[in-house]
Assembly symmetry: C2
Homo-oligomer: 476 residues x 2
């Protein structure tokens, strides 16, 4: 159709032909997610190199009513950055070429980076000036800053440093009409009306395209003290966590939980991983303290607290990392769960968070619910216990999964059981992964009418044409 | 008029007559701010006792198109909570009767409190279970939680714990149509669409009425180590701050700056305040470290850092508090500035924040600008240097002020000079006090068209009748 050809030639006139991809081989890496679970078709992929280019593309799309899907490192776990159907209508806007680090201000503790910067490269640039950008997660080698902001990424450092939201001081956004909002302030305090950046953080690209951000940096910790231990029960783990929080305060940087099934999968399926403790235990915790100096003080604190917990019968066994390589080894056990679980079967993963105090109830009740309906499933549990975010993953062998007729009914049914438990305990069905395509129905199930109405009012006000990542986040 | 009488009788039917105040003597404490600088008239003052009562009042106001002014402790510094004119139309909705602390969950580190709870009572309730609600400011004995949330209050603990925004996990809001949004979640992680609470925090009551909140609590620090020192220059103060930040990280809980003029005013005008150092210095800094245990370690850290800074010639003189009463005494010097400045003359106070790295330039340039236009003014400087928030206060004697014809032109002119400097350095004219009535013109001066348009779109979407605190925050 000539409309399509006309639109594409206008895009090419804007960006140059080399930045507008239409050939199937060129676009295939963009229309499918990295896990190969979501795939659709697109009109084209554009790769703008600057904020002005992004604005020009958005203006053109607004004029033609063409939907836009912003895409960063394409590491979404819920199909947030790829087309969801075969309409072939949307333009995928890749931020990958926008990877300039514009400025770094070590005294203010801020850096301004473009959306396409890979998270790892931002962490590295901060570390070069002895500062820390604390957001850290499995995909950090490929996910991009724009994506982490649009999804308010979490990860393993939330306990100490908060989510991405708490580490963003300003954003630059191309709005759905192509206007550029320069909100790149680097201020700790600014009370001048609605804090606009907040609506774009976590909006998953439905309100505009984040093209750059001012990030908050922290003093780089240089001392770490880490232990792996087996609590005598999940309640004991809770009590140990309270002890650590009270005595270590913000020096407590990780409190990660794993059940026996999860640890067994890591040992079995991932090469070179070995069990941290001599005897296998029902529950495993990795606890880490970090600080900017005085390694000995930090070690003493960890030892004191562990000794106290052992004396109180809360801990059955523990091992303390005595050097950096032991520390890395224990973290590798934690970081190997995704790889292990892929080999173990089909994991119907969930991403609930509950109030920290409700973690034991959540685990008990979700286990009971899944066990009673699906006794053939193994329960794999791994989570950021310190912030109440537990990945509860009912897992089934490949053979058994193959034999199931209505796979999507089973997968939806299992997740519903787990999410219902979290919801009843005042929790959420999506702590850190976001909504994308997969969570839209759950939004209808778990968010109140008032909340959905408020979100729709804001969406309509800012994107009245509904061209920004349509069909995501909000149920129809 | 009978419309008025009809409306009032419907209000009384909702709330009971004793909760609808119309007599002049009953309303006078509500129509004027605590400093006596802003005054207007109101149709009445209502004192609902529950969220349902608030919702009923708002529904009635929506039906009759009557504007509402929510009011907490009435401690706004910019006329945010009192009527601005003599129309006599608005209803003042006082939250003072809603002061229930609904729940406290020590393991989750959260408490749910109603909007009318006084900040100090919330701090005390948290301390009873060995936890800290960190928002702390001069008015804490009378300001209310709802007001601190609606203004995103700052204070002296922002450096360590962030603004109010960072310490609120959930809110309950009565929307402009009288619907109640129950957003009282107590989760550290919840990525399910737009984070709606963020638009109400800092909106100064223009989008709805915050009736309750879930607050985030922290481990209660039990060790404090504090010093007062004279840096050799403002640049030296910056370097000392960087040293402290790098070596103490989140143990650094205050870094407060005062110039010689400010300290002199405190000594001269406030009874029982004495100079911390033997010799008067151009600049004074109060630095505080805090932690949950190991007083000796904290003291050592402070002493080490001070010694290092003295050796490098960055500090001329210093005194370390060796016990709690010395510590309290030094803090009292800092906390006495408002009282001192009231006696000293007319202070044209400002509330700028700039990037921390730009604090010396801000002080230099603002001093130069004010001195060259108003050589008769003293420059009083007091601020939260650690987060870039400097209260730069050109001050003039009562006699000289009396002699000025066009006082509002002088006051606007002085503030404009200071705010312009901050703006050019990437700063803001309102770091922690908010907009209220006094900042509305500055919003037009300093916020971009894009920002104002986005704020208006959100305001129109959520309060299409414009009944929530009309005329505040957004310029016409």
């Amino acid at each position: 159709m000539s409309d399509r050809a006309d639109f594409l030639s206008r895009l090419e006139a804007c960006l140059g032909a080399q930045s507008v991809l239409t050939a199937e081989t060129d676009v295939e890496g963009f229309v499918e997610d990295f896990k190969g679970r979501f795939k659709g078709t697109a009109l084209c992929v554009v790769q703008p190199g600057s904020t002005e280019d992004v604005a020009a593309v958005v203006r053109l799309c607004a004029e033609h009513g063409v939907p836009l899907i912003p895409q960063g490192g394409n590491t979404s776990l819920c199909g947030g950055a790829v087309p969801s159907d075969e309409s072939g209508r949307p333009v995928i806007l890749s931020l990958s070429r926008m990877r300039r680090m514009r400025t770094i201000d070590a005294v203010n503790g801020t850096m301004v980076v473009e959306a396409g910067c890979v998270l790892k490269s931002v962490q590295d640039a901060a570390a070069e000036v002895n500062l820390l950008y604390p957001v850290s997660l499995g995909a950090e080698g490929s996910c991009q800053i724009g994506g982490t902001i649009s999804t308010n990424a979490g990860g393993t450092n939330v306990l100490r440093y908060g989510n991405t939201r708490e580490n963003v001081l300003g954003v630059e956004v191309v709005l759905p009409d192509g206007t550029v909002w320069d909100g790149l302030r680097g201020l700790r305090k600014d009370n001048t009306g609605i804090d606009l950046k907040q609506i774009f953080i976590g909006a998953e690209g439905t309100l505009g395209i984040v093209t750059a951000a001012t990030l908050k940096l922290h003093p780089l910790p240089s001392c770490f003290s880490l232990a792996w231990f087996a609590p005598s029960s999940i309640d004991a783990a809770m009590r140990v966590m309270s002890m650590f929080r009270a005595a270590a305060s913000s020096k407590l940087s990780a409190f990660e939980l794993m059940n026996r099934t999860q640890l067994d999968l890591v040992i079995r399926h991932v090469r070179n991983r070995k069990a941290p403790l001599a005897n296998s235990a029902d529950w495993n915790v990795l606890v880490e303290l970090s600080d900017v100096r005085e390694q000995a003080e930090l070690d003493d604190l960890l030892q004191d607290l562990l000794a106290q917990a052992i004396e109180e019968g809360l801990i059955l066994d523990a091992v303390v990392a005595t050097n950096d390589s032991q520390r890395a080894e224990l973290w590798e056990v934690r970081h190997s769960v995704t790889e292990a679980n892929k080999s173990a079967g089909i994991g119907l993963s969930t991403d609930c968070a509950v109030p920290v105090s409700a973690v034991p109830q959540f685990i008990d009740q979700a286990t009971l619910a899944v066990r009673s309906h699906y006794p053939e499933m193994d329960i794999v549990i791994v989570g950021h216990m310190g912030d109440g975010n537990i990945h509860f993953i009912p897992t089934i062998s490949f053979e058994r999964w193959k034999a199931i007729d209505d796979k999507s009914a089973v997968s939806a049914g299992v997740r519903r059981l787990v999410n219902d438990v979290a919801h009843k305990l005042g929790g959420t069905f999506s702590a850190e992964h976001g909504i994308g395509q997969t969570g839209v129905l759950a939004m209808a199930d778990y968010k109140s009418d008032v909340e959905l109405r408020l979100m729709r009012l804001i969406k309509q006000a800012i994107d009245p044409q509904n061209i920004m990542n349509p069909g995501r986040v909000l149920p129809r």
